[in-house]
Protein backbone atom coordinates (compact mmCIF):
# COMPACT_ATOMS: atom_id res chain seq x y z
CA UNK A 1 0.00 0.00 0.00
CA UNK A 2 1.33 3.39 -0.91
CA UNK A 3 1.73 5.21 2.36
CA UNK A 4 2.84 8.43 0.73
CA UNK A 5 -0.76 9.17 -0.17
CA UNK A 6 -3.32 8.42 2.50
CA UNK A 7 -6.22 6.21 1.46
CA UNK A 8 -8.63 9.08 1.86
CA UNK A 9 -6.63 11.27 -0.50
CA UNK A 10 -6.13 8.40 -2.89
CA UNK A 11 -9.89 8.02 -2.90
CA UNK A 12 -10.36 11.66 -3.80
CA UNK A 13 -7.71 11.58 -6.50
CA UNK A 14 -9.04 8.44 -8.10
CA UNK A 15 -12.56 9.76 -8.07
CA UNK A 16 -11.38 12.72 -10.13
CA UNK A 17 -9.47 10.43 -12.45
CA UNK A 18 -12.54 8.29 -13.01
CA UNK A 19 -14.79 11.23 -13.73
CA UNK A 20 -12.16 12.55 -16.12
CA UNK A 21 -12.12 9.29 -18.04
CA UNK A 22 -15.88 9.34 -18.47
CA UNK A 23 -15.72 12.94 -19.59
CA UNK A 24 -12.93 12.25 -22.08
CA UNK A 25 -14.94 9.46 -23.66
CA UNK A 26 -17.96 11.68 -24.12
CA UNK A 27 -15.79 14.46 -25.48
CA UNK A 28 -14.19 12.16 -28.04
CA UNK A 29 -17.59 11.18 -29.35
CA UNK A 30 -18.81 14.75 -29.41
CA UNK A 31 -15.76 15.90 -31.30
CA UNK A 32 -15.99 13.24 -33.97
CA UNK A 33 -19.72 13.37 -34.50
CA UNK A 34 -19.87 17.09 -34.02
CA UNK A 35 -17.22 17.84 -36.54
CA UNK A 36 -18.66 15.58 -39.19
CA UNK A 37 -22.18 16.84 -38.71
CA UNK A 38 -20.96 20.42 -38.63
CA UNK A 39 -19.20 20.12 -41.94
CA UNK A 40 -21.56 17.62 -43.49
CA UNK A 41 -25.07 18.69 -42.59
CA UNK A 42 -24.97 21.85 -44.71
CA UNK A 43 -24.35 19.60 -47.69
CA UNK A 44 -27.24 17.31 -46.91
CA UNK A 45 -30.54 18.45 -48.24
CA UNK A 46 -33.43 16.77 -50.01
CA UNK A 47 -31.76 17.28 -53.37
CA UNK A 48 -28.57 15.68 -52.15
CA UNK A 49 -30.45 12.68 -50.93
CA UNK A 50 -32.63 12.23 -53.96
CA UNK A 51 -30.45 13.03 -56.94
CA UNK A 52 -27.77 11.15 -58.78
CA UNK A 53 -24.08 11.91 -58.57
CA UNK A 54 -22.57 14.05 -61.28
CA UNK A 55 -19.04 13.94 -62.48
CA UNK A 56 -18.02 10.84 -60.59
CA UNK A 57 -19.44 12.18 -57.38
CA UNK A 58 -17.67 15.51 -57.46
CA UNK A 59 -21.08 17.10 -57.31
CA UNK A 60 -24.66 16.00 -57.31
CA UNK A 61 -26.26 13.67 -54.83
CA UNK A 62 -26.13 10.20 -53.40
CA UNK A 63 -29.48 8.68 -54.22
CA UNK A 64 -28.10 5.52 -55.87
CA UNK A 65 -25.83 4.99 -52.90
CA UNK A 66 -28.72 5.17 -50.49
CA UNK A 67 -30.67 2.68 -52.56
CA UNK A 68 -27.60 0.43 -52.80
CA UNK A 69 -27.31 0.49 -49.04
CA UNK A 70 -30.98 -0.40 -48.67
CA UNK A 71 -30.74 -3.32 -51.08
CA UNK A 72 -27.62 -4.75 -49.55
CA UNK A 73 -28.89 -4.42 -45.99
CA UNK A 74 -32.22 -5.97 -46.90
CA UNK A 75 -30.58 -9.00 -48.48
CA UNK A 76 -28.28 -9.36 -45.50
CA UNK A 77 -31.05 -9.19 -42.93
CA UNK A 78 -33.37 -11.49 -44.86
CA UNK A 79 -30.69 -14.14 -44.89
CA UNK A 80 -29.02 -13.62 -41.54
CA UNK A 81 -32.11 -13.14 -39.37
CA UNK A 82 -33.79 -16.50 -40.06
CA UNK A 83 -30.46 -18.30 -39.84
CA UNK A 84 -29.42 -16.56 -36.64
CA UNK A 85 -32.74 -16.70 -34.84
CA UNK A 86 -33.35 -20.26 -36.02
CA UNK A 87 -29.97 -21.34 -34.76
CA UNK A 88 -30.58 -19.64 -31.43
CA UNK A 89 -33.97 -21.31 -31.07
CA UNK A 90 -32.49 -24.67 -31.90
CA UNK A 91 -29.62 -24.33 -29.44
CA UNK A 92 -31.75 -23.01 -26.62
CA UNK A 93 -34.89 -25.04 -27.03
CA UNK A 94 -34.27 -28.20 -28.96
CA UNK A 95 -31.04 -29.49 -27.62
CA UNK A 96 -28.79 -29.61 -24.58
CA UNK A 97 -25.25 -28.29 -24.20
CA UNK A 98 -23.58 -31.06 -26.11
CA UNK A 99 -20.62 -31.20 -28.44
CA UNK A 100 -22.65 -30.12 -31.43
CA UNK A 101 -23.69 -26.96 -29.64
CA UNK A 102 -20.10 -26.30 -28.64
CA UNK A 103 -19.10 -26.71 -32.26
CA UNK A 104 -21.79 -24.33 -33.42
CA UNK A 105 -20.72 -21.75 -30.87
CA UNK A 106 -17.11 -22.15 -31.88
CA UNK A 107 -18.09 -21.68 -35.51
CA UNK A 108 -20.02 -18.55 -34.65
CA UNK A 109 -17.21 -17.08 -32.55
CA UNK A 110 -14.65 -17.81 -35.23
CA UNK A 111 -16.92 -16.21 -37.80
CA UNK A 112 -17.15 -13.15 -35.58
CA UNK A 113 -13.41 -12.76 -35.43
CA UNK A 114 -12.78 -12.97 -39.16
CA UNK A 115 -11.62 -9.57 -40.42
CA UNK A 116 -13.90 -7.89 -42.92
CA UNK A 117 -11.32 -7.93 -45.68
CA UNK A 118 -11.20 -11.71 -45.54
CA UNK A 119 -14.94 -11.75 -46.04
CA UNK A 120 -14.21 -9.56 -49.02
CA UNK A 121 -11.78 -12.08 -50.41
CA UNK A 122 -14.27 -14.84 -49.85
CA UNK A 123 -16.86 -12.89 -51.80
CA UNK A 124 -14.39 -12.47 -54.61
CA UNK A 125 -13.36 -16.10 -54.69
CA UNK A 126 -16.87 -17.49 -54.37
CA UNK A 127 -19.18 -15.19 -56.27
CA UNK A 128 -16.94 -13.66 -58.91
CA UNK A 129 -14.48 -16.43 -59.59
CA UNK A 130 -16.26 -19.64 -58.67
CA UNK A 131 -19.84 -18.78 -59.59
CA UNK A 132 -18.79 -16.46 -62.37
CA UNK A 133 -21.34 -13.84 -61.40
CA UNK A 134 -20.80 -10.24 -62.30
CA UNK A 135 -20.76 -7.50 -59.75
CA UNK A 136 -24.00 -7.45 -57.81
CA UNK A 137 -25.46 -6.11 -54.63
CA UNK A 138 -26.92 -9.53 -53.98
CA UNK A 139 -23.47 -11.05 -53.56
CA UNK A 140 -22.57 -8.20 -51.24
CA UNK A 141 -25.71 -8.83 -49.23
CA UNK A 142 -24.92 -12.49 -48.80
CA UNK A 143 -21.39 -11.75 -47.62
CA UNK A 144 -22.76 -9.18 -45.17
CA UNK A 145 -25.28 -11.74 -43.96
CA UNK A 146 -22.40 -14.00 -43.01
CA UNK A 147 -20.81 -11.13 -41.10
CA UNK A 148 -23.99 -10.24 -39.25
CA UNK A 149 -24.91 -13.82 -38.40
CA UNK A 150 -22.83 -14.22 -35.21
CA UNK A 151 -24.23 -11.00 -33.75
CA UNK A 152 -27.83 -12.00 -34.38
CA UNK A 153 -27.20 -15.50 -33.07
CA UNK A 154 -25.56 -14.37 -29.83
CA UNK A 155 -28.08 -11.67 -29.01
CA UNK A 156 -31.02 -13.94 -29.81
CA UNK A 157 -29.57 -16.64 -27.59
CA UNK A 158 -29.40 -14.23 -24.68
CA UNK A 159 -32.93 -13.00 -25.39
CA UNK A 160 -34.37 -16.49 -25.45
CA UNK A 161 -32.50 -17.50 -22.34
CA UNK A 162 -34.00 -14.57 -20.51
CA UNK A 163 -37.55 -15.76 -21.04
CA UNK A 164 -38.70 -17.26 -17.73
CA UNK A 165 -39.01 -21.03 -17.81
CA UNK A 166 -42.44 -20.75 -16.22
CA UNK A 167 -43.94 -19.43 -19.46
CA UNK A 168 -42.84 -22.50 -21.38
CA UNK A 169 -43.94 -24.83 -18.62
CA UNK A 170 -47.38 -23.24 -18.52
CA UNK A 171 -47.81 -23.75 -22.24
CA UNK A 172 -46.61 -27.34 -22.25
CA UNK A 173 -48.79 -28.15 -19.26
CA UNK A 174 -51.79 -27.13 -21.34
CA UNK A 175 -50.83 -29.72 -23.92
CA UNK A 176 -49.19 -27.47 -26.51
CA UNK A 177 -46.45 -28.95 -28.69
CA UNK A 178 -42.87 -27.81 -28.55
CA UNK A 179 -43.08 -25.72 -31.68
CA UNK A 180 -46.38 -24.18 -30.60
CA UNK A 181 -44.80 -23.20 -27.32
CA UNK A 182 -41.78 -21.74 -29.04
CA UNK A 183 -43.70 -19.82 -31.65
CA UNK A 184 -46.54 -18.60 -29.47
CA UNK A 185 -44.92 -18.04 -26.11
CA UNK A 186 -41.14 -17.99 -26.11
CA UNK A 187 -40.40 -16.12 -29.32
CA UNK A 188 -42.91 -13.32 -28.69
CA UNK A 189 -41.44 -12.80 -25.24
CA UNK A 190 -37.94 -12.70 -26.67
CA UNK A 191 -38.82 -10.32 -29.48
CA UNK A 192 -37.39 -7.12 -27.96
CA UNK A 193 -34.00 -8.76 -27.53
CA UNK A 194 -34.13 -10.47 -30.89
CA UNK A 195 -35.13 -7.25 -32.59
CA UNK A 196 -32.19 -5.50 -30.97
CA UNK A 197 -29.95 -8.22 -32.29
CA UNK A 198 -31.32 -7.91 -35.79
CA UNK A 199 -30.97 -4.15 -35.71
CA UNK A 200 -27.39 -4.47 -34.50
CA UNK A 201 -26.69 -6.95 -37.29
CA UNK A 202 -28.30 -4.58 -39.71
CA UNK A 203 -26.16 -1.71 -38.47
CA UNK A 204 -23.10 -3.84 -38.98
CA UNK A 205 -24.13 -4.66 -42.53
CA UNK A 206 -24.89 -1.05 -43.27
CA UNK A 207 -21.47 0.11 -42.12
CA UNK A 208 -19.30 -2.32 -43.98
CA UNK A 209 -17.19 -1.49 -46.99
CA UNK A 210 -14.15 -3.75 -46.97
CA UNK A 211 -16.27 -6.89 -47.06
CA UNK A 212 -18.09 -5.91 -50.21
CA UNK A 213 -15.25 -4.07 -51.89
CA UNK A 214 -14.64 -6.73 -54.48
CA UNK A 215 -18.14 -7.90 -55.26
CA UNK A 216 -20.43 -4.96 -55.74
CA UNK A 217 -18.45 -3.12 -58.34
CA UNK A 218 -17.98 0.62 -58.46
CA UNK A 219 -20.96 1.69 -60.45
CA UNK A 220 -22.48 5.09 -59.80
CA UNK A 221 -25.75 4.12 -61.46
CA UNK A 222 -29.02 3.57 -59.68
CA UNK A 223 -29.41 -0.14 -58.96
CA UNK A 224 -32.89 -1.19 -59.98
CA UNK A 225 -32.62 -4.74 -58.78
CA UNK A 226 -30.55 -6.52 -56.22
CA UNK A 227 -28.63 -8.19 -58.98
CA UNK A 228 -27.31 -4.90 -60.29
CA UNK A 229 -23.95 -3.58 -59.22
CA UNK A 230 -24.07 -0.66 -56.87
CA UNK A 231 -22.18 1.44 -54.38
CA UNK A 232 -23.43 1.49 -50.80
CA UNK A 233 -22.74 4.58 -48.73
CA UNK A 234 -19.60 3.47 -46.86
CA UNK A 235 -17.95 2.44 -50.10
CA UNK A 236 -18.89 5.76 -51.68
CA UNK A 237 -17.37 7.65 -48.77
CA UNK A 238 -14.19 5.63 -49.04
CA UNK A 239 -13.90 6.23 -52.76
CA UNK A 240 -14.62 9.95 -52.59
CA UNK A 241 -12.24 10.47 -49.68
CA UNK A 242 -9.28 8.47 -50.96
CA UNK A 243 -9.55 9.86 -54.46
CA UNK A 244 -10.06 13.37 -53.20
CA UNK A 245 -13.02 13.83 -55.50
CA UNK A 246 -15.06 16.15 -53.39
CA UNK A 247 -14.48 17.07 -49.80
CA UNK A 248 -17.92 18.55 -49.43
CA UNK A 249 -19.71 15.48 -50.69
CA UNK A 250 -17.51 13.29 -48.56
CA UNK A 251 -18.65 15.19 -45.50
CA UNK A 252 -22.21 14.92 -46.69
CA UNK A 253 -22.00 11.18 -47.12
CA UNK A 254 -20.29 10.81 -43.75
CA UNK A 255 -22.99 12.92 -42.12
CA UNK A 256 -25.73 10.74 -43.57
CA UNK A 257 -24.03 7.63 -42.22
CA UNK A 258 -23.61 9.17 -38.79
CA UNK A 259 -27.25 10.18 -38.67
CA UNK A 260 -28.33 6.68 -39.64
CA UNK A 261 -26.32 5.23 -36.78
CA UNK A 262 -27.67 7.78 -34.34
CA UNK A 263 -31.21 6.91 -35.37
CA UNK A 264 -30.50 3.21 -34.90
CA UNK A 265 -28.98 3.75 -31.47
CA UNK A 266 -31.92 5.84 -30.34
CA UNK A 267 -34.40 3.34 -31.73
CA UNK A 268 -32.81 0.36 -30.03
CA UNK A 269 -32.61 2.18 -26.75
CA UNK A 270 -36.07 3.67 -26.54
CA UNK A 271 -38.57 1.87 -28.74
CA UNK A 272 -37.42 -1.58 -27.83
CA UNK A 273 -37.37 -0.74 -24.13
CA UNK A 274 -40.90 0.60 -24.32
CA UNK A 275 -42.14 -2.50 -26.06
CA UNK A 276 -40.58 -4.78 -23.47
CA UNK A 277 -42.04 -2.69 -20.68
CA UNK A 278 -45.50 -3.06 -22.18
CA UNK A 279 -45.09 -6.78 -22.67
CA UNK A 280 -43.77 -7.38 -19.21
CA UNK A 281 -46.46 -5.23 -17.71
CA UNK A 282 -43.92 -3.13 -15.89
Amino acid sequence: MNRIISPKNAQKIMKTVFWASGLITIIILLIIIGYILFEGLPVVNLEFLLSDPIDNGASGGIAPMIVSTIWVTLVAVCIAAPLGVGAAVYIMEYTKENNLVKLIRFGSETLASVPSIIFGLFGLAFFIVFLGMGFSLFSGGVVLAFMALPTILQVSEVAIEAVPRSYAEGSLALGASKWQTVSNVILPAAIPGITTGIILGMARAMSEAAAILFVVGASLDMPYSIFDPGRPLPLHLYTLATQGTSLANSYGTAAVLVILILIITIVTNTVVENYSRKMMGR
Binding site: G86, S116, I117, G120, I261
Partner: protein, 291 residues
Protein backbone atom coordinates in the same frame (compact mmCIF):
# COMPACT_ATOMS: atom_id res chain seq x y z
CA UNK B 1 -49.92 -37.71 -36.69
CA UNK B 2 -49.82 -34.63 -38.83
CA UNK B 3 -48.58 -32.66 -35.90
CA UNK B 4 -45.73 -35.02 -35.41
CA UNK B 5 -44.55 -34.60 -38.96
CA UNK B 6 -44.75 -30.84 -38.59
CA UNK B 7 -42.75 -30.96 -35.36
CA UNK B 8 -40.16 -33.18 -36.96
CA UNK B 9 -39.75 -30.93 -39.97
CA UNK B 10 -39.50 -27.85 -37.79
CA UNK B 11 -36.82 -29.43 -35.66
CA UNK B 12 -34.74 -30.57 -38.60
CA UNK B 13 -35.19 -27.20 -40.29
CA UNK B 14 -33.91 -25.43 -37.24
CA UNK B 15 -31.01 -27.84 -37.03
CA UNK B 16 -29.97 -26.84 -40.50
CA UNK B 17 -30.03 -23.16 -39.63
CA UNK B 18 -27.99 -23.95 -36.56
CA UNK B 19 -25.37 -25.69 -38.64
CA UNK B 20 -25.14 -22.67 -40.89
CA UNK B 21 -22.38 -20.97 -38.93
CA UNK B 22 -20.21 -24.07 -39.16
CA UNK B 23 -20.93 -24.50 -42.85
CA UNK B 24 -20.18 -20.88 -43.61
CA UNK B 25 -16.87 -20.78 -41.81
CA UNK B 26 -15.84 -23.96 -43.60
CA UNK B 27 -16.81 -22.44 -46.93
CA UNK B 28 -14.77 -19.35 -46.24
CA UNK B 29 -11.72 -21.31 -45.18
CA UNK B 30 -12.01 -23.53 -48.22
CA UNK B 31 -12.30 -20.79 -50.78
CA UNK B 32 -9.65 -18.54 -49.33
CA UNK B 33 -7.26 -21.46 -49.00
CA UNK B 34 -7.95 -22.61 -52.52
CA UNK B 35 -7.05 -19.25 -54.01
CA UNK B 36 -4.03 -18.81 -51.81
CA UNK B 37 -2.60 -22.27 -52.24
CA UNK B 38 -0.84 -21.55 -55.48
CA UNK B 39 1.43 -18.83 -54.14
CA UNK B 40 2.14 -20.67 -50.90
CA UNK B 41 3.31 -23.59 -52.94
CA UNK B 42 5.50 -21.65 -55.31
CA UNK B 43 6.87 -18.98 -53.03
CA UNK B 44 6.88 -20.96 -49.80
CA UNK B 45 5.06 -20.21 -46.57
CA UNK B 46 8.06 -19.16 -44.51
CA UNK B 47 9.58 -17.23 -47.37
CA UNK B 48 6.45 -15.16 -47.43
CA UNK B 49 6.07 -14.79 -43.70
CA UNK B 50 9.64 -13.76 -43.05
CA UNK B 51 10.42 -12.21 -46.38
CA UNK B 52 11.47 -8.63 -45.94
CA UNK B 53 10.64 -7.21 -49.31
CA UNK B 54 7.25 -6.93 -50.92
CA UNK B 55 7.66 -6.17 -54.59
CA UNK B 56 5.28 -8.13 -56.81
CA UNK B 57 6.78 -6.68 -60.00
CA UNK B 58 10.08 -8.25 -59.08
CA UNK B 59 8.39 -11.44 -57.90
CA UNK B 60 9.09 -10.75 -54.26
CA UNK B 61 6.36 -11.61 -51.81
CA UNK B 62 7.79 -11.05 -48.36
CA UNK B 63 5.12 -9.79 -45.98
CA UNK B 64 7.18 -9.19 -42.86
CA UNK B 65 6.99 -5.38 -43.22
CA UNK B 66 3.21 -5.66 -43.20
CA UNK B 67 3.23 -8.04 -40.24
CA UNK B 68 5.28 -5.47 -38.35
CA UNK B 69 2.88 -2.77 -39.46
CA UNK B 70 -0.19 -4.66 -38.29
CA UNK B 71 1.27 -5.75 -34.97
CA UNK B 72 2.81 -2.34 -34.34
CA UNK B 73 -0.38 -0.40 -34.89
CA UNK B 74 -2.34 -2.86 -32.79
CA UNK B 75 0.16 -2.72 -29.95
CA UNK B 76 0.10 1.07 -29.90
CA UNK B 77 -3.68 1.16 -30.05
CA UNK B 78 -3.90 -1.22 -27.10
CA UNK B 79 -1.37 0.86 -25.19
CA UNK B 80 -3.61 3.90 -25.46
CA UNK B 81 -7.00 2.25 -25.37
CA UNK B 82 -6.67 -0.19 -22.49
CA UNK B 83 -5.93 2.25 -19.64
CA UNK B 84 -8.53 4.76 -20.76
CA UNK B 85 -11.15 2.08 -21.38
CA UNK B 86 -10.60 0.38 -18.05
CA UNK B 87 -10.83 3.68 -16.19
CA UNK B 88 -14.02 4.51 -18.06
CA UNK B 89 -15.55 1.10 -17.40
CA UNK B 90 -14.77 1.34 -13.69
CA UNK B 91 -16.30 4.79 -13.76
CA UNK B 92 -19.48 3.47 -15.31
CA UNK B 93 -19.75 0.40 -13.13
CA UNK B 94 -18.71 1.81 -9.76
CA UNK B 95 -18.47 5.55 -9.60
CA UNK B 96 -20.95 7.22 -11.90
CA UNK B 97 -24.37 8.10 -10.56
CA UNK B 98 -27.23 6.34 -12.33
CA UNK B 99 -28.19 9.25 -14.52
CA UNK B 100 -24.67 9.70 -15.82
CA UNK B 101 -24.39 6.00 -16.49
CA UNK B 102 -27.61 6.01 -18.45
CA UNK B 103 -26.22 8.84 -20.54
CA UNK B 104 -22.87 7.21 -21.09
CA UNK B 105 -24.20 3.86 -22.24
CA UNK B 106 -25.81 5.10 -25.49
CA UNK B 107 -22.71 7.22 -26.07
CA UNK B 108 -20.57 4.10 -26.03
CA UNK B 109 -23.07 2.27 -28.22
CA UNK B 110 -23.01 5.08 -30.74
CA UNK B 111 -19.23 5.08 -30.81
CA UNK B 112 -19.38 1.35 -31.42
CA UNK B 113 -21.79 1.71 -34.29
CA UNK B 114 -20.03 4.38 -36.31
CA UNK B 115 -18.77 2.83 -39.55
CA UNK B 116 -15.03 2.38 -39.75
CA UNK B 117 -14.83 4.43 -42.95
CA UNK B 118 -16.24 7.37 -41.06
CA UNK B 119 -13.50 7.05 -38.47
CA UNK B 120 -10.97 6.73 -41.25
CA UNK B 121 -12.41 9.77 -42.95
CA UNK B 122 -12.23 11.79 -39.75
CA UNK B 123 -8.64 10.68 -39.32
CA UNK B 124 -7.87 11.72 -42.86
CA UNK B 125 -9.33 15.20 -42.75
CA UNK B 126 -8.71 16.14 -39.13
CA UNK B 127 -6.01 14.03 -37.54
CA UNK B 128 -3.54 13.77 -40.42
CA UNK B 129 -3.17 17.55 -40.86
CA UNK B 130 -2.74 17.95 -37.09
CA UNK B 131 -0.07 15.28 -37.04
CA UNK B 132 1.65 16.97 -39.95
CA UNK B 133 1.78 20.25 -38.09
CA UNK B 134 2.96 18.84 -34.79
CA UNK B 135 5.24 16.04 -35.84
CA UNK B 136 6.32 16.90 -39.33
CA UNK B 137 6.32 14.52 -42.23
CA UNK B 138 3.24 13.72 -44.20
CA UNK B 139 1.00 13.13 -41.22
CA UNK B 140 0.31 9.61 -42.39
CA UNK B 141 1.92 7.29 -39.91
CA UNK B 142 1.74 4.36 -37.57
CA UNK B 143 0.93 6.73 -34.73
CA UNK B 144 -1.93 8.38 -36.59
CA UNK B 145 -3.45 5.01 -37.38
CA UNK B 146 -3.10 3.87 -33.79
CA UNK B 147 -4.97 6.94 -32.54
CA UNK B 148 -7.89 6.16 -34.82
CA UNK B 149 -7.85 2.50 -33.84
CA UNK B 150 -7.79 3.47 -30.17
CA UNK B 151 -11.11 5.25 -30.55
CA UNK B 152 -12.49 2.35 -32.54
CA UNK B 153 -11.67 -0.36 -30.03
CA UNK B 154 -12.50 1.55 -26.86
CA UNK B 155 -16.25 0.88 -27.01
CA UNK B 156 -15.64 -2.87 -27.23
CA UNK B 157 -13.27 -2.93 -24.27
CA UNK B 158 -15.43 -0.58 -22.21
CA UNK B 159 -18.74 -2.36 -22.62
CA UNK B 160 -17.45 -5.86 -21.93
CA UNK B 161 -15.29 -4.75 -18.99
CA UNK B 162 -18.19 -2.84 -17.55
CA UNK B 163 -20.44 -5.89 -17.72
CA UNK B 164 -17.74 -7.92 -16.06
CA UNK B 165 -17.38 -5.42 -13.22
CA UNK B 166 -21.11 -5.28 -12.64
CA UNK B 167 -21.36 -9.00 -12.21
CA UNK B 168 -18.86 -9.13 -9.36
CA UNK B 169 -20.98 -10.32 -6.41
CA UNK B 170 -21.78 -7.34 -4.33
CA UNK B 171 -21.16 -9.32 -1.15
CA UNK B 172 -17.46 -8.89 -1.75
CA UNK B 173 -17.89 -5.16 -1.98
CA UNK B 174 -19.96 -5.06 1.20
CA UNK B 175 -17.46 -7.16 3.09
CA UNK B 176 -14.64 -4.82 2.11
CA UNK B 177 -16.54 -1.66 2.97
CA UNK B 178 -17.68 -3.13 6.27
CA UNK B 179 -14.03 -3.54 7.23
CA UNK B 180 -13.50 0.17 6.78
CA UNK B 181 -11.96 0.22 3.31
CA UNK B 182 -12.50 3.23 1.07
CA UNK B 183 -14.37 2.81 -2.19
CA UNK B 184 -11.15 3.04 -4.20
CA UNK B 185 -9.44 0.46 -1.97
CA UNK B 186 -12.41 -1.82 -2.51
CA UNK B 187 -12.30 -1.38 -6.28
CA UNK B 188 -8.59 -1.87 -6.46
CA UNK B 189 -8.28 -4.84 -4.13
CA UNK B 190 -11.53 -6.71 -4.55
CA UNK B 191 -13.87 -5.65 -7.33
CA UNK B 192 -11.43 -5.16 -10.17
CA UNK B 193 -9.34 -8.29 -9.53
CA UNK B 194 -12.51 -10.33 -9.49
CA UNK B 195 -13.49 -8.92 -12.88
CA UNK B 196 -10.17 -9.64 -14.55
CA UNK B 197 -11.24 -12.67 -16.63
CA UNK B 198 -13.92 -10.55 -18.29
CA UNK B 199 -11.52 -7.67 -18.75
CA UNK B 200 -9.05 -9.94 -20.48
CA UNK B 201 -11.81 -11.11 -22.84
CA UNK B 202 -12.63 -7.49 -23.57
CA UNK B 203 -9.05 -6.67 -24.42
CA UNK B 204 -8.75 -9.74 -26.61
CA UNK B 205 -11.79 -8.73 -28.61
CA UNK B 206 -10.48 -5.20 -28.93
CA UNK B 207 -7.19 -6.55 -30.17
CA UNK B 208 -8.98 -8.71 -32.75
CA UNK B 209 -10.85 -5.71 -34.03
CA UNK B 210 -7.71 -3.61 -34.30
CA UNK B 211 -5.74 -6.18 -36.26
CA UNK B 212 -8.61 -6.84 -38.63
CA UNK B 213 -9.37 -3.24 -39.47
CA UNK B 214 -8.79 -2.31 -43.09
CA UNK B 215 -10.18 0.85 -44.60
CA UNK B 216 -9.81 3.17 -41.66
CA UNK B 217 -6.16 2.23 -41.47
CA UNK B 218 -5.62 2.65 -45.20
CA UNK B 219 -6.85 6.19 -44.99
CA UNK B 220 -4.33 7.30 -42.39
CA UNK B 221 -1.37 4.98 -42.20
CA UNK B 222 0.55 5.90 -45.29
CA UNK B 223 0.61 2.44 -46.83
CA UNK B 224 4.27 2.21 -47.66
CA UNK B 225 5.31 -1.45 -47.74
CA UNK B 226 8.47 -0.94 -45.73
CA UNK B 227 9.69 -1.44 -42.19
CA UNK B 228 9.00 1.65 -40.11
CA UNK B 229 11.98 3.13 -38.30
CA UNK B 230 9.84 5.09 -35.88
CA UNK B 231 6.20 5.35 -34.98
CA UNK B 232 5.99 8.46 -37.09
CA UNK B 233 6.81 6.54 -40.25
CA UNK B 234 4.11 5.37 -42.63
CA UNK B 235 3.33 1.66 -42.58
CA UNK B 236 1.20 -0.81 -44.41
CA UNK B 237 -0.81 -3.43 -42.61
CA UNK B 238 -1.62 -6.92 -43.83
CA UNK B 239 -5.22 -5.88 -44.33
CA UNK B 240 -4.29 -2.77 -46.28
CA UNK B 241 -1.98 -4.80 -48.47
CA UNK B 242 -4.84 -6.98 -49.59
CA UNK B 243 -7.31 -4.18 -50.17
CA UNK B 244 -4.97 -1.92 -52.07
CA UNK B 245 -3.47 -4.39 -54.49
CA UNK B 246 -6.34 -6.77 -55.16
CA UNK B 247 -7.82 -4.44 -57.71
CA UNK B 248 -5.07 -5.12 -60.21
CA UNK B 249 -3.43 -8.33 -59.08
CA UNK B 250 -3.18 -11.38 -61.32
CA UNK B 251 -1.55 -14.77 -61.21
CA UNK B 252 0.89 -15.36 -58.37
CA UNK B 253 0.39 -11.81 -57.13
CA UNK B 254 -3.35 -12.47 -56.82
CA UNK B 255 -2.74 -15.74 -55.02
CA UNK B 256 -0.17 -14.12 -52.74
CA UNK B 257 -2.77 -11.67 -51.52
CA UNK B 258 -5.00 -14.56 -50.54
CA UNK B 259 -2.03 -16.09 -48.79
CA UNK B 260 -1.59 -12.82 -46.90
CA UNK B 261 -5.15 -13.23 -45.71
CA UNK B 262 -4.46 -16.76 -44.53
CA UNK B 263 -1.42 -15.61 -42.58
CA UNK B 264 -3.40 -12.72 -41.12
CA UNK B 265 -6.05 -15.11 -39.93
CA UNK B 266 -3.45 -17.44 -38.44
CA UNK B 267 -1.90 -14.55 -36.53
CA UNK B 268 -5.29 -13.59 -35.17
CA UNK B 269 -6.02 -17.17 -34.14
CA UNK B 270 -2.69 -17.47 -32.36
CA UNK B 271 -3.22 -14.20 -30.50
CA UNK B 272 -6.73 -15.30 -29.50
CA UNK B 273 -5.52 -18.67 -28.25
CA UNK B 274 -2.65 -17.16 -26.26
CA UNK B 275 -4.84 -14.52 -24.74
CA UNK B 276 -7.58 -17.02 -23.93
CA UNK B 277 -5.01 -19.15 -22.15
CA UNK B 278 -4.30 -16.26 -19.77
CA UNK B 279 -8.02 -15.68 -19.38
CA UNK B 280 -8.63 -19.22 -18.17
CA UNK B 281 -5.51 -19.28 -16.07
CA UNK B 282 -6.71 -16.19 -14.22
CA UNK B 283 -10.15 -17.70 -13.81
CA UNK B 284 -8.75 -20.80 -12.18
CA UNK B 285 -6.45 -18.87 -9.85
CA UNK B 286 -9.25 -16.71 -8.59
CA UNK B 287 -11.26 -19.83 -8.04
CA UNK B 288 -14.44 -20.00 -6.06
CA UNK B 289 -17.48 -18.82 -7.85
CA UNK B 290 -15.67 -18.12 -11.05
CA UNK B 291 -15.08 -21.66 -12.21
Amino acid sequence: MRENIEEFLVEKGLLITALSSIIIILLIIFFVLSQGAQSIQSVGFFNMLFGMVWNPDANQYGILPMVVGSLGITALALLFAVPLSLLCSIFMAEVAPNRVRRLLKPVIETLAGIPSVVYGFFGLVVLVPIMRVHFGGSGFSMLTASFILTVMIMPTIISISEDSLRTVPHEYKEASLALGATHWQTIRNVVFPAAIPGVITAIILGMGRAIGETLAVIMVAGNVAQFPSSILDPVRTLTANIAIEMGYATGIHYSALFATAIILFLIIMILLVVANYFHYKKKVVIGGGYL
